[in-house]
């Protein structure tokens, strides 16, 4: 890891020099380094956090709907959680049961977050974060185990209320 980091830092420095960025344009060097590291690793960190995702055509096949647009409509109507990516929407796998159907509680959970003004990524992260109301189990695991859907909806409401502003 140390060698990879040294190479990354060296390449980062070289690239900045090639770009001809002045010291003033660089701003706070610590902030620059922190931001560069976050930008470079964000995709990997989100993937680790959220777990596997399905592309829109996969979900189309899973649900047996007629078009990819129909899948997007389900996301727009808050029936499914979709994450925007540069190459299109992806759908976290945790919202689908082993039979490939979305859990019945998904619309109510997503509705709970509707007024909280939070991004789909933050909602996805909530699904994989242990919740006290669920006995320190993540909502994704709670759903997979077939536990009480009302309770996970209530957990969503409480989290959304704290995030609302």
């Amino acid at each position: 890891v140390a060698r990879a980091l040294a190479t990354a830092a060296e390449t980062f420095e070289q690239t900045l020099e090639e770009l001809g960025v002045s010291e003033r344009e660089l701003g706070d060097p610590q902030e620059l380094g922190r931001r560069a590291a976050l930008l470079a690793t964000a995709d990997a960190l989100w993937s680790k956090r959220i777990g596997p995702t399905f592309r829109r055509d996969h979900v189309q096949k899973l649900l047996g709907v007629g078009s990819r647009q129909a899948v997007s409509q389900l996301a727009k109507r808050h029936r499914l959680l979709a994450l925007p990516r540069n190459d299109g929407l992806v759908f976290p796998a945790f919202q689908f049961s082993a039979l490939g159907r979305p859990y019945d509680a998904m619309p109510a959970i997503l509705a709970a977050f509707e007024n909280a003004d939070v991004s789909p990524h933050t909602i996805a992260s909530w699904f994989t974060t242990p919740q006290r109301l669920l006995g320190r189990v993540t909502p994704a695991t709670w759903l997979r185990r077939g536990r009480d859907p009302e309770r996970v909806v209530e957990a969503a409401r409480r989290s959304a209320a704290r995030l609302a502003h």
Binding site: R34, L38, D43, W46, P84, R85, N86, D117, H121, T122
Partner: protein, 118 residues
């Protein structure tokens, strides 16, 4: 947490219009009134709302408590009693959530703020 969600929020310091007497649930002597540490982390909102109603009935204007999202139970919160929803109070200071707060949240609670695709 998505960076966008942090950028869309601000941190404000508000002052209360008048002095408020708080029921201090962080004091050991509160035990004499039946308060235990469970009040800080109870998942039963009905129970904590009963306590709040009792304190309000006894003339308190709010409570001082240990916030449940701090497992170390060192952070203290204050809740003021009053009507539901947002209140118009004098805002002493307001501004964006600065990077030192974000760093502190990461170091203390492991909350990572990350950029997301547009």
């Amino acid at each position: 947490v998505s960076e966008r969600d942090v950028a869309r929020r601000v941190l404000s310091t508000l002052s209360v219009p008048q002095d408020v007497g708080l029921a201090d649930c962080t004091e050991s002597s509160a035990l004499a009134f039946g308060v235990t540490a469970a009040i800080h982390s109870s998942e039963s909102y009905e129970r904590t709302q009963e306590w709040a109603a009792a304190f309000a009935g006894a003339g308190f204007g709010g409570i001082r408590y240990l916030v449940s999202h701090d497992p170390a139970q060192r952070l203290v919160g204050v809740a003021l009693f009053g009507p539901a929803d947002a209140q118009d109070g004098p805002v002493a200071d307001t501004g964006p959530i600065e990077s030192d707060v974000i760093t502190s949240a990461r170091e203390r609670f492991g909350i990572l703020v990350l950029p997301t695709p547009a």
